[in-house]
Symmetry: C2
Subunit: 387 residues, 2 copies
């Protein structure tokens, strides 16, 4: 087990009607709020009205930033920064899924920075004195509600990249599973795949002696496998939605990555290229790519960990590691298909057109992945196998 620092400082308010805590929590950190959200879903569900009533009831001033899209755009970040400066806002509230919360974080970082917020993701600027962020989560997927990461898309240059800073962890996040009842089958399935992928990225490493982390990771994977299909079939099953919601936060709040060097993150890197070029749902891209990545990296060095996964998650009993790993990969693909996620790029109308550019973009800072290092050639091969 490697040395690590860990603090999951985000205060979680979990359960029915926890949005009642909103005004009280905001007032601990700010007085003038940027209310950031996406489309009309929160208006349909009544959450928007509830939030406005909480804010106005407590006399908290707010300015709205509407229309944040999935794979949130740099344009929205810049618009948010402008609104904060013009209106002297001192708190960012993101109400929505990971995209909205990611955008809220980028805005929070951007307000005190004179340059282009894109500088954060291309490592040309460091986050300094971000505004505090709070969130109300409406989609169980990214884990953004409990970590300091944000993924932003630059629509002009077709790039999608991550930034991160401990101080961008939301100071609070409100997780009411009932607000995820209206999430449709596709997004529910994609969210489940996203949660599992966050575990995969941290689980498939060559670190040794991380038994407790792996055991917790396996528990979160089992949770997704149990409740993903239930939530897809019965969207208002509270226990399924609650377990997926808490799993989404725990999968990427740093916990399962403690004691490990970094995680792999190659598959996320490749998927970000797909989403940047085609605006594909992140979880759907991951469902296509992960089994292919597992097959591609499987060799004598990676087989033991992939076999551990196969045995502990899919109850594969084969003694041979290579064979067990192969069975585990098959089971993974089968599960994603059961969730009605695509299993090939062809299914989502992606062709080889931009593969060269994607492979190049994914490696712009050098080879990616720690479980096995992948260069541009590898990435193109993976994309071709995913066709």
């Amino acid at each position: 087990m490697r040395n690590f620092n860990f603090a999951a400082t985000t205060k979680i308010f979990f359960g029915k009607n926890k949005v009642n805590e909103l005004a009280n929590e905001i007032q601990k950190h700010g007085k003038r709020v940027l209310l950031a959200y996406g489309g009309g879903n929160i208006k349909k569900s009544g959450l928007y009205d509830k939030v406005i009533s909480e804010l106005t009831g407590a006399g908290i001033a707010y300015v709205e930033l509407e229309g944040i899209q999935p794979n949130p755009r740099l344009k929205s970040v810049k618009e948010g920064v402008r609104l904060c400066r013009e209106n002297q806002l001192d708190f960012i509230l993101g109400v929505g899924g990971g995209s909205v919360i990611d955008c809220a974080k980028a805005i929070a970082a951007g307000v005190s920075y004179d340059g282009d917020p894109w500088d954060f993701v291309i490592r040309q600027a460091k986050v300094e004195k971000p505004l505090p962020v709070g969130s109300i989560l409406t989609l169980s997927a990214t884990g953004s509600e409990m970590n300091g990461n944000a993924v932003i898309s630059n629509e002009e240059i077709k790039e999608k990249r991550a930034m991160g800073d401990e101080r961008l962890r939301p100071v609070f996040s409100i997780l009411d599973p009932t607000y995820t009842f209206t999430v449709n089958k596709w997004q529910t399935a994609a969210g489940t795949v996203d949660i599992m992928s966050h575990i995969f990225e941290q689980y498939f490493t060559h670190d040794t002696g991380t038994f407790v982390q792996d055991a917790i990771a396996e528990g979160i994977l089992q949770t997704c496998i149990k409740y993903g299909p239930i939530a897809v079939e019965q969207p208002d099953d509270y226990e399924a939605r609650a377990n997926l919601m808490w799993a989404s936060s725990l999968a990427l709040n740093g916990l399962t990555g403690t004691g490990k060097l970094y995680g792999d993150w190659a598959t996320h890197g490749i998927e970000h290229e797909l989403s940047a070029f085609y605006d594909l749902t992140h979880g759907a891209g991951l469902a296509i790519l992960f089994p292919v990545w597992m097959e591609y990296v499987l060799d004598s060095k990676t087989a033991p960990k992939l076999a551990q996964y196969a045995r502990n998650i899919w109850h594969v009993e084969t003694a041979d590691d290579m064979e067990a790993a192969e069975q585990g990969i098959k089971a993974t693909r089968k599960f994603f298909t059961r969730l009605e996620m695509p299993s090939s790029l062809a299914e989502v109308n992606i062709t080889t057109d931009h593969f060269d550019q994607m492979a190049k973009n994914a490696c712009v800072f050098g080879p990616i992945g720690m479980f096995r290092r992948l260069d541009g050639e590898d990435i193109k091969n993976i994309l071709l196998k995913a066709l």
Copy 2:
């Protein structure tokens, strides 16, 4: 899954040489430190010298409170409070196991309170404006390093009781597994039982829909079962010590209790009576009591959860819940025996002498336990079965 609030705010510095962070972290919160510790162990291991060198190197003033005992005494708390007031100390650093850290917390709460600190544990006073606490952990067991609880013994009236407040969570805790290499077999085994017991207390409930919490809890139990015996046999096995140390923090930082009403905690209540009357090692008392408690509460209502434990932890395959539960209890007792923990009160020279008083004391606030409510009669029966 029930509604909950959760924030594990303690900043964890985990691994070799992390004590190098000490001065830097203290200076974020205070300038004048009460250095609280137990006996000579930290002097033998060199940790004491390292701490002093960190403090003096950074020009941090400190006053020492030495001699905090296992099952920490109210006397030490009062002495610490006096030292803090007389020397205008503004930060409490506990260096040791759970007893030292518990004592540090009680002192932190007591400084701003005019009355007797015992009032906190008998619910006659609330914690107000506690001083910040930091810890350096040298024994993997209680989880005190990452929560707001403290257990204090009142030697005059032979009582041992718990107090708790979110603001008593250490602001930081330094966890260097190498400082647990010198923990002897008995304390290593007792610590392992203590970690497992914290999981038991939160796992054995009638709450439904807490799959992800239970899966994580099972992962922590498996960690103890794998590494407890290794640490007992090979005290300098870093991976064993590291996994137990991180497990101890995660077992009682609130994580596995999220979404549940309260946990059971009857066995801890009964054990506190044993420790109060006989100064028994807490984990040894729990090793005796837990299998007996499991047998005592086993009925048609509790069998399904005890069977789940048996199947997921001890790989019991029996279909019948009652039978599976019984096998799981047997396996638990066998494991504790393998750790060379006692399995009866007779083994630790405890007789029936104080059973009536213990049963009465344990129920002073009413019946205890949530998995099954236990009154004084039940507690006496459990003690008799544990003889």
